[in-house]
Amino acid sequence: MSTPYAKLPAWADYGLIPFINLLVSFAVAGLVVLLVGENPFHAAVILVDGAFGSGTGIAYTLYYATNFIFTGLAVAVAFHCGLFNIGGEGQAYIAGLGVGLVCLAFDHILPWWLTFPLAILGAALAGALWALIPAYLQAKRGSHIVITTIMFNFIAASAMVYLLVGPLKPRGAMAPQTRQLVEGAQLPKLGWLLQEFGLTVRPSAPLNLSFLLALVMAFVVWVIVWRTKLGYEIRTMGFSSKAARYAGISETRIIIVTMLISGALAGMMALNPIMGDQHNVSLDFVSGAGFVGIAVALMGRSHPAGIVPAAILFGMLYQGGAELAFEMPNISRDMIVIIQGLVILFAGALEHMFRPWVQAVFASFSPRSVGIAPSKAEGA
């Protein structure tokens, strides 16, 4: 028998349940830590300390969060249209080409604040283009976008490897990466902002201007999805394609536009490592951010107000995880992939698993909060 979804007060729905899902994810991850032979609580302490215990740590955390805000927004926009864009990884990778070409062309000629907007365009265009073919195939041929975007991730990897060991690599160099970019393509760091709050931040900390761009884009996404005609059409399509057809919304157009926006957002992620930190385009600079974006979008319920904190949480995992890898060599970055998977599982597929128990607790303390008149709760 189907359990009608129990009513809960709004704060429990949007705060408590996601928090419980998160807790369970960490508990299961803790089990894996145990299996590896380490102490999960000790690991957790190192994690949090590494992420927030110092100004430099915070800078790194926010630097990683920047990546995840972009990719999380990308996945979220697609979700609103009912599409699952798993291709963020590939879209961001190819965007590296867009950013790289702009920077390599202009870094000797223009100041960074002119190169930057051009690079944003380059990133967005490249990412959008990489999403275009899967979008078109879904819209026109019904080809499942999940499979095509996964395939495009693999194709992107092959393409970028080819370019980075070949045409883009400076002659005579060994490493598969472009030449270093000079000042005209280097974004200013933001460590000084944190220092205003009395924290010490190492000058090499990678937090840079693209973090602010990410926050701006979060706001822009909110405006687009909830305050524009386009966003209204996207949400309509996401909820009911029949209603969208009735309302005169062209399915093909909306799917393609949504995926272009999604690809563009994922592409912008490339600006952070390339222009903000490493100052080159190197192999695998995306390193999984596209996939983390999925977990971030699910945790954040596809809303920018949820995505930013979720991105910071995963930034914490990345930064804290780096510290952890020093102290506990058995726990590498791949632990984060596991946690990411668990978050996706609990926040995405099992999101209502704990609802009945939470509702029972609420009902016993305060029946009215779940919509039951007190007399009925006692008598029935």
């Binding site: 894996v32 693999f154 596991i338 995405g348 209502h352």
Partner: protein, 323 residues
């Protein structure tokens, strides 16, 4: 004839390469026919490969490895089942989650247990399934054409390869000649009809999902114990997704699925053969292009035909009793 020998070689490679695809494809068939969309074939194969290789290395026995592979894959399949069936969650999200969990766990546990950078120790002959020579393969070897086909192409594969191809008619028989198959197909088309007939929709779907687990376990085991001599990180490299595309291409039928997987296998084997060889007009093709070829082909496949394939009607939709 040299050309004929080369052909036999390529076809031989085709068979070897197709086996994990075929097993994964049949695995997906059970789930999807019952209405559960499973994008987690990749993760289950990977986890099965790791478990199989780890167990085989530790216990020095291929059979132990096989058992471990199947157990682990079935466990992951049950997680997917739990999320999709009991909790009616989004099946794609659940599958994606399992893929990540498998990817991360296999590396971390591999490193922690074996300390070889994420791989399992190389397996000795005990830990692998050996080649099986069909009767008279030796004697017939020199007979022109038939002998070459028999001993060069059909004979000499490992156990799981034969199992994979036998699984095709077996699956057909289960689907179309047994009560279980009838009910399974029904639950993928109209679960309400099954429910009102007094059959448990959930139990039926769980059984389908368990079948998927078993077959993906076999697929992973084949990759780690037969194709390779151990587990290497990310060794499935997207095969689980390609198997899914083959399944859609085959319109969810067992025999076309076999041909679809053989086709992919053939193209894969051909591309390995041609690596480094200059092609007419195009010249030398970059190795990365060859690596990307199976994925490009999958997209082309999905673009060309899928618009017309009709999946099981209730596929991917959690079953909720109407009020």
């Amino acid at each position: 004839m040299e050309f004929f020998e080369a052909l036999i070689n390529i076809l031989n490679s085709t068979i070897r390469v197709s086996v994990p695809l075929l097993l994964a494809c049949l695995a997906g068939l059970y789930s999807e026919r019952a209405g559960i969309f499973d994008i987690g074939l990749e993760g289950k194969m990977l986890a099965g490969a790791f478990a199989g290789a780890a167990a085989a290395a530790v216990y020095g026995s291929a059979w132990v490895g096989l058992g471990a592979a199947v157990l682990v894959s079935v466990a992951l399949a049950l997680v997917h089942g739990f999320a999709s069936i009991t909790h009616r969650g989004n099946q794609i999200v659940s599958g994606v989650a399992i893929n990540f969990i498998a990817a991360g766990s296999t590396i971390i546990l591999g490193q922690a247990w074996f300390n070889q950078g994420g791989r399992t120790p190389s397996l000795t002959a005990d830990g692998r399934f050996g080649a099986i020579d069909l009767p008279f393969a030796d004697a017939l070897q020199d007979v022109p054409v038939i002998g070459q086909i028999y001993s060069g192409l059909l004979s000499g594969h490992t156990l799981l390869a034969y199992v994979a191809f036998l699984a095709v008619p077996f699956t057909w028989w289960v689907l179309f000649r047994t009560r279980f198959g009838l009910r399974m197909r029904a639950v993928g088309e109209n679960p309400a009809a099954v429910d009102t007939a007094g059959i448990s929709v959930a139990w039926l779907r769980y059984r389908a999902v368990i079948c998927t687990g078993v077959l993906t376990g076999l697929a992973g085991c084949y990759m780690a114990l037969s194709q390779n001599a151990g587990f290497v990180k990310d060794m499935t490299a997207g095969r689980g997704y390609i198997a899914l595309a083959a399944l859609i291409f085959a319109k969810w039928k067992p025999v076309p699925a076999m041909f679809a997987c053989l086709l992919f296998g053939f193209l894969d084997a051909l591309s390995i053969r041609l690596q480094g060889t200059p092609l007419p007009i195009v010249g030398k093709v970059p190795v990365q292009f060859m690596q990307a070829l199976p994925y490009i082909l999958t997209v082309i496949l999905l673009a060309g035909f899928i618009g017309k394939a009709i999946p099981p009607r209730a596929g991917g939709v959690p079953y909720v009793k109407e009020r």
